[in-house]
């Protein structure tokens, strides 16, 4: 899992900029003035405990959950309060928590759903996805519920790639998977990053996530508690104590 660390140092315009984003569910403040930046070709990880607001942040970036205040910019354009379908067309996609595949549909149908807005290039994207995930080609006519947990996670990632995204947001990819499969999934994310995709990852498995990411943000009860390069966060005593079991 070798990464090109020089990318982190490139001072480019951020691909994604979240400015003081607040999101509430009724009286409950899920996010409170959260600001993050993701630069092109980076892997950025959001770490935090259950209920810290990681999923809410990803949903708000995509447009599924409307923020109460704050701004989200993607490639310089303001995208908060923009419909999800437009954000997907612009190049943002989300691999939801718990795999989120359509269990009763075939693997191929699941993949084609990812290409809902990109039917023109669907054959090209499908060929590329099959090249990266040969197991999915083998199982394309099977219904998704017959796949193993790891294969379902691959399918969810592959489906996201079918929309030809620029930014892939992956929510808790390791949840409920065996450690060996988790390694495979993180290898896939690193491989995708090397292929040029920008990845925003939300993960509870902080050690593995920080090992493969360039930078990270620590979310605690809806606010950013800490941020920095992965090596900095891996060596931070607070992070070690809270998330790395040290």
């Amino acid at each position: 899992m070798e990464l090109n660390r020089t990318l982190v140092d490139e001072k480019k315009t951020p691909m994604l900029r979240v400015e003081e984003l607040s999101v509430s569910y009724g009286q409950i403040h899920a996010l409170e003035k959260v600001s993050i930046e993701v630069y092109p070709h980076e892997i950025v990880v959001l770490i935090g405990a259950n209920g810290a607001g990681k999923t809410t942040l990803l949903s708000s970036i995509l447009g599924v959950k409307a923020p109460t205040s704050g701004n989200v910019f993607f490639e310089g354009k303001k995208i908060d309060r923009v419909p999800v379908d437009r954000n997907v067309r612009e190049g943002i996609c989300l691999v939801p928590e718990g795999r989120g595949v359509f269990a009763s549909m075939s693997v191929l149908d699941n993949l084609l759903l990812g290409a809902h807005h990109n039917l023109v290039n669907k054959d090209k994207n499908l060929a590329r996805v099959y090249e990266w995930f040969p197991i999915l080609k083998k199982r394309k006519d099977q219904v998704a519920k017959t796949l193993s947990g790891g294969e379902r996670q691959m399918l969810a990632i592959a489906r996201a790639l079918m929309s030809a995204p620029k930014l892939i947001m992956v929510d808790e990819p390791s949840i409920g998977l065996a450690p060996i499969i988790v390694n495979d999934i993180f290898d896939i994310l690193v491989m995708l990053n090397k292929e040029g995709y920008t990845v925003l990852l939300s993960e509870q498995n902080a050690f593995k996530a920080l090992k493969c990411a360039h930078r990270g943000y620590v979310l605690e009860t809806g606010t950013i508690a800490l941020s920095g390069t992965s090596s900095l966060l891996l060596n931070d005593p607070g992070v070690k104590a809270a998330y790395l079991g040290a």
Binding site: V64, D85, L113, H116, L119
Partner: protein, 296 residues
Amino acid sequence: MPLSLYYYLSITAVNILMSWALYVPYRMTQLHFITIANMMISGYLAGYLVLHVHVPFVCALLIGFVVGGIIGYVVSLFIGDAPTFAVVIVGFTFIYITRTIVENLSIVGGTMGMFGLPNIGGNPVAHRWIILGILYGLVVLCGFLIYRFDHSSIGRAASAIFVDKELASSLGIDIKKLGMLVQTFSCTLAGGVGVLYGFIYKSFHLDFFGFALIGVYMTVLFVGGYSTQWGPLIAAPILYGVPLFFPPAVQSWRIVIYGVMLILVLVLKPEGFITRKSVYSIGLALSRKREKVIRS
């Protein structure tokens, strides 16, 4: 053609078309009962135009389709992405309002109904053949369109919405736009079918468009199978035809029989008798048999 056969064939076609008008929005969990109100509005309007304004039947039929489509589109602007129960409530309300308006509108006959619609084609025999021709032409056309819809990216998106609306939305599927499309389609279809429904009997009466129609179309859809267009197509002739062989005393209990059947099917076989899986299996078996025949 015997009159009884004419009524059986024409009402079967109406049941197929109206069950499809429910089937298409239900692909994304919307039970769109506004279709019944649309039948009534377009039907009465076309009847009035033919009877009092002497508009040719074909023009009145087209107006029926267009009016149905316009109502469907306008309503879908508000409930295109509404949850099932909201769409159901709007549907019931629409039926109730439309019935009340028709009841109090003397120019369409009020509670007495509208009678004396002319024969299309000049005589009763030609009238029957023309009505049957249009109805079954519509069954073929709509069957083709719905087949294309089911096998398109839009149909796939509707299936995704049926399973998990939130997940489908996160994939960038525009639920409202898709809802507007299916609702407008089903209301357009219902508008045209409403016109034909009245012209089958050459009259319009409020009793034709009662709440019992909902029971009939729901039974055809859910007993036949809501996951494939073949469900209503196969269930409609059976469900309408079989009770006709019962003694008259039993026939008058038809709606009760449908109701019991609907409840039993929803409990014991929720997807209905014809499922997408069974259609796929039959298709696979047929293609294998065809391959064998070609080889031999």
